[in-house]
Each structure stands twice: as C-alpha cells, then as structure tokens.
C-alpha cells in the first residue's frame, strides 16, 4: 500500500521558515490538515506534490521523491486553493487539456472530461468559457480536473471553497467514496465542520510546526492537561450553585461558573479524564441529578483554539 512519509522535514524560503521539523505518515483514507493562515499547510502540500523540495529531511511518496520523479505525478491529483485556469478555455477544454498531459488521446480525453463534468453537474455549462463561471462552477471544474484520471493520492487545498451546499454534499460523498476505494486523501479546509464530517484523522499545524496528528479524540486525550470546559446541567435549578461550590473543592477543577439563563454550570478542568471518572461519584453523593453533560471542547475548533491560542482560522 502506498504511503506518504515526511521525515523531519524543514522548508525554508530564504529567512522565512515554511515548515519546521515535520514528521508524519499518511495512509489510505482522508486526513484533514488544519491551521491558520501561514501555518504551513500549503507548504506541506507543495512538498508532497513535488512543487517544493525540503531544505532538511525527506519526503517520500509511494517510495519515490516527488520533486524529481515526474512519473509519480500520474498518481497524484491536486485541487489548488487558488484559481489556476486558462480563462479563455471552456470547462471541457480545460479538463481535457490536463488529461492529455497524461498522454491520453483527444477523443478519449473529451469523453472522460465530459463524463466527469456531467457527474459534477456542469453538463449545461461545460462548453462555456471559464471566465464566465461562478466560484462553485470553478471549484467543480478543479475537482473534475484533479480526479478524472483516477489518482491514488489526492491533495485537496480548500476544495469546498465557494461551493454551494449541494456541491459541498456532492463533493463530500465523492471524497468518502474515494477514501473507501483506498485512496490517500489529504484535505485542508477552513470549515472545520467539513473536516469533522469527513474524518477523525487530523494534522494540526501552526507557525510551520506540527502541533499534533492522529485521531482527533486521541489528540484530545493526549492534551488532557490543557484546560477544557464542560457544561453540566442539573435537573433542578436549585442544584446549580451547590454543584458549582462542590466542584470547586476538587483540586482538578480550575473554575466554575453558574449560568442561570441556560441552567448550566460551566466547569473548567485540566484533568478531563479524572473529571469524567469522579463526576458521577460526586453527583451521587450530593444527590444531584443532571440531564446533560456536554463538552464542546471535543470539536476541532475548540481543540485548535486551545493549541494556537485563538489564532485566526484560515
């Protein structure tokens, strides 16, 4: 099975560090790469695509160096974040043009491009010039171009950008199917919800450094020492203050806040695992009944906020 391996990769652009000492392995399935602007996501993708060469370390894609092995590119599909179009071409001309770079003859390329664009709902507009396309249509054209030669590896930089809900749903379905087919898919998106819907495998990156990688729940566990907020909603309103007061007696509770309007106590802990073990015991002892224990902190957004200190999402 093919793998993508980055080993101690550092990439410098003059004095600017693109990524620093990144080590990761990507296998089949979808992996989300998350980080704010300038975090190093695009640099990581460029290294995998062979558009950049590491200053230190090495990149191995299916056992080959992507920077020098042009044949490897038969197996890699890339959806760039920015528009990279020949605006004077129609959608079908553009998609078939790039398919012909794979040494496909004209008729075959035309047919396959037509099929791919039709599948993505562009049958009415594929003969129009790209310069007249909306953002969503452009996005679909990019995806069609990157995927119609059935690559093993897909690198998708913001593939949902500008896509309407229908397109988004369609693309997600396709990505799930491709992942089920055993393709390696690396996807970056600023819409965290999209990534959460698609995969649990994530890479968090900031300032060129990899903060964490793996299953997002696992990552959360590893970061147990990072404070997280847990909302506990007692059935009786009278128990709100009692619960808050009682929880503050525990050394692993850093703060407690009563929110009467939503009938909940917001507890902040840096020992989440202990919290979940101890809380039922305390509730039983104090005879407090609760109807909901909720932690938004398991979402990628809060996870990321914890890691990068609320830096702006890309």
């Amino acid at each position: 099975m093919s793998e993508i391996i980055l080993k101690n990769v550092t990439k410098n652009y003059g004095n600017v560090q693109g990524v620093s000492d990144i080590t990761l392995t990507l296998g089949a399935g979808i992996t989300g790469i998350l980080g704010p602007n300038g975090a190093g996501k695009s640099t990581t993708m460029k290294l995998i695509l062979g558009l950049s060469r590491p200053s230190i370390g090495y990149v191995d894609v299916a056992g080959k160096d992507p920077f020098t092995d042009w044949q490897l590119k038969k197996r890699i599909g890339f959806v760039p974040e920015h528009d990279c179009f020949y605006e004077h071409m129609s959608g079908i001309e553009y998609v078939s043009y790039f398919l012909r770079m794979h040494d496909v003859n004209k008729n075959d390329a035309q047919k396959r491009a037509e099929k791919a664009l039709t599948e993505l709902g562009l049958e009415q507009s594929m003969h129009r010039k790209i310069r007249t396309y909306s953002r969503g249509m452009r996005q679909k054209t990019k995806v069609a171009r990157a995927t119609l030669f059935d690559p093993d590896i897909l690198v998708l930089d913001e593939p949902f950008q500008g896509a309407d809900p229908t397109t988004r749903h369609l693309l997600m379905e396709k990505m799930r199917n491709w992942a089920n087919d055993g393709k390696i898919i690396l996807i970056s998106s600023h819409i965290l919800h999209d990534i959460e819907d698609l995969t649990d495998k994530i890479i968090l990156i900031n300032n060129g450094k990899m903060l964490a990688s793996g299953d997002r729940h696992e990552i959360r566990k590893l970061m147990d020492n990072i404070p997280r907020k847990i909302m506990v909603s007692p059935i009786r309103k009278n128990d709100l203050r009692l619960l808050a007061k009682r929880m503050l007696d525990e050394e692993w509770i850093r703060a407690a806040r009563v929110k009467e309007e939503t009938n909940e106590v917001i507890l902040e802990t840096n020992k989440a695992e202990k919290f979940y073990l101890e809380l039922p015991r305390i509730l039983r002892k104090e005879k407090i009944e609760v109807n909901r224990i909720n932690s938004d902190d398991d979402s990628l957004e809060s996870l990321y906020e914890k890691l990068v200190g609320g830096a702006q999402w890309k």
């Binding site: 460029k46 695509l49 062979g50 558009l51 950049s52 060469r53 020098t68 042009w70 044949q71 490897l72 590119k73 038969k74 890699i76 890339f78 760039p80 920015h82 528009d83 990279c84 179009f85 020949y86 004077h88 071409m89 078939s96 043009y97 790039f98 012909r100 770079m101 794979h102 040494d103 496909v104 003859n105 004209k106």
Partner: protein, 307 residues
C-alpha cells in the same frame, strides 16, 4: 546520461508528442495571437507598408516605363531601375523592423506570455503536478513561439515587400524575390534563436522584459560589433544576410562592391580589418545549437523551480 538512455528518452518524448503537442501548441498559439500587445506589434510592423504606399503614389507620376519582351520595367527620373531602389528600402527597413527592434520585442513578449504568464496565473504549478517532463513543457511552448513569431514577421515582410515593390510593377516584384526569401530565412533563424534565449531568460529571471531589452542592448547591439561578436546571435544572422547579399551581387548601396565593403556594412570586420563572417551553414548550425541549449537549460530551470 548514457547515449542509449538519451535515445530512449527522446523516443518516448516523440511518441507522447502526438497527445501532448497539439493541445499545448494550440493553446499557446491562441494566447499569442489573441494578445492585444501582439496586435499592437503587428500594427507597428505594418507601418513601413504606409511608407510603401507613399513611395508608390509619390513615384507613380515620375516613373518611366520601358517594355522589354512584353514585361514592363519601371525607372525613376534618373533612369535607375525602381526595383533596385525598392529592394534597398525593403532590406534596410526589414533590418530595422522585422529583424531589429520590433522582432526582438515580439520575441521577448512571446516568451513572457508563454512562460512568465503561466507562472503568474499559477497554471505552471498545475502543469508541474502532471506527468509531463519539464523539457516537454518548454519544447511545445518554444515551438509555438517560433511558429507565431515567424508567421507574423513573415506575413508583415511579404506584405511590405509587395506594397513597396508595387512601384516597380510585376517585373520588379519577381526580379527581387530573392531578397524577400533572404529576409524570411533570417526571420526563421531569428525566431529559432531569440525565442529560445528569451524563454531561458524568462524562466530564470522575474523581469523578462527589462532583462530582455538589456540583453539586446548590451549583448546583441554592443558586443555584436566587436571582435568577440561570434558569441552573439546577431553575428550569425548577419553572416547569413551577408552571404545572401554577396551571392546576389549587390550591397546595401545598390552597387557591386568588394566583399570587405559589404562585410563592413554588416559589422563583420574585426579590428585587424579582416572579415569575420561565419559560413552560412556554420551560422545555421550555431543558431540551432543555441536554440537547443536554451531549451535544455530552460527545462532544467523549470525542473529546479520551486513554488
């Protein structure tokens, strides 16, 4: 790389060319011909045609005609054949426009559109993620550039020649056709060499227009008149021109002359007053060699470029 490997690679490129070359060349030709700047340059190239028209109307009242074997031969008031005056004007203006400044600007502009625009539009990034060799990326763009430059300059030259020679009638047009072929030959080799050089500059440097003009002024204009001129494209183009005119038996002043005078007209003399013109076959070989080297170095540049 071993010779055997090179042959294998070239064969593979040849086999793939039937799928790769047509879409790339078609797209590049479209971009070059549809570019507004191309049409401005075509307009500038056609300006001498206005001069040709003026020459025609100015001379039409004064010219004298003599009919020999049913052919009308036109002369000016001093009795000089008009086609001889026309060919000199054609040669000098062609050197100034098609071969000279405008030709160079066309080559710089085309190279920039073919390479630099692709970097600006980021389509080069995408091409680099497809299984196409860097040499293929450059080669088909180069061929398109040569084709377009040759077509436009040749078309302008043919049109200019016909308009300018109208004064000398059909006889004049046919009589001096060799000078038109000579100019077209020069345009072909000029396109082959300059598109390669400017593509190379465009690949390695970020300001191709400025550097291209600097190259032309410093290298092709200053160095080409010195003893070391054999390292310039101008020397080889002038050598072909010199040989062609020599064979026709006239120089730019319209008189039969000694070889040295003619060589001097084209700056093909060294400081020891020796003719240093290259043999035409050597000149052609040198220009093709320059083109090949620029494509290979350019391909290396594309391969090494990081995004």
């Amino acid at each position: 790389m071993e010779m055997k490997n090179i042959i294998v690679e070239v064969t593979k490129i040849g086999k793939r060319s039937k799928n790769l070359a047509p879409p790339i060349i078609k797209d590049c030709n479209y971009r070059l011909f549809m570019n507004k700047l191309t049409w401005i340059l075509i307009f500038i190239l056609l300006l001498p045609c206005l001069l040709g028209l003026w020459f025609y109307y100015d001379m039409s009242d004064q010219r004298q005609v003599q009919e020999i074997n049913g052919e009308k031969i036109y002369y000016d008031v001093e009795g000089e054949p008009l086609h001889e005056e026309g060919r000199i004007a054609f040669l000098e203006l062609s050197q100034l426009f098609s071969i000279g400044f405008v030709g160079i600007v066309v080559a710089i502009m085309f190279s920039s559109e073919l390479i630099n625009e692709e970097y600006n539009q980021k389509t080069m990034n995408l091409l680099r993620t497809t299984p196409i060799r860097p040499v293929e990326i450059l080669l088909y763009r180069y061929l398109s550039g040569v084709f377009c430059m040759f077509t436009i300059l040749s078309f302008a030259s043919i049109l200019f020649y016909i308009i300018l020679m109208m004064t000398a009638g059909i006889h004049g047009i046919i009589e001096e056709i060799d000078v038109l072929w000579l100019i077209i030959k020069i345009i072909m080799f000029e396109s082959i060499a300059y598109i390669g050089i400017f593509c190379l500059i465009t690949i390695y440097f970020e300001r191709p227009f400025l550097l291209g003009i600097l190259y032309w002024i410093v290298w092709e204009s200053l160095v080409s008149s010195q003893n070391y001129q054999k390292i310039t494209v101008t020397h080889y183009l002038d050598s072909i021109l010199f040989d062609g005119i020599k064979k026709m038996g006239w120089n730019t002043n319209g008189y039969l002359t000694y070889e040295k005078d003619l060589a001097s007209d084209y700056g093909l003399m060294n400081s020891k007053d020796e003719i240093i013109a290259s043999e035409p076959m050597i000149a052609i070989f040198a220009l093709c060699f320059i083109a090949t080297i620029t494509i290979l170095l350019g391909a290396r540049g594309i391969a090494a470029r990081q995004f």
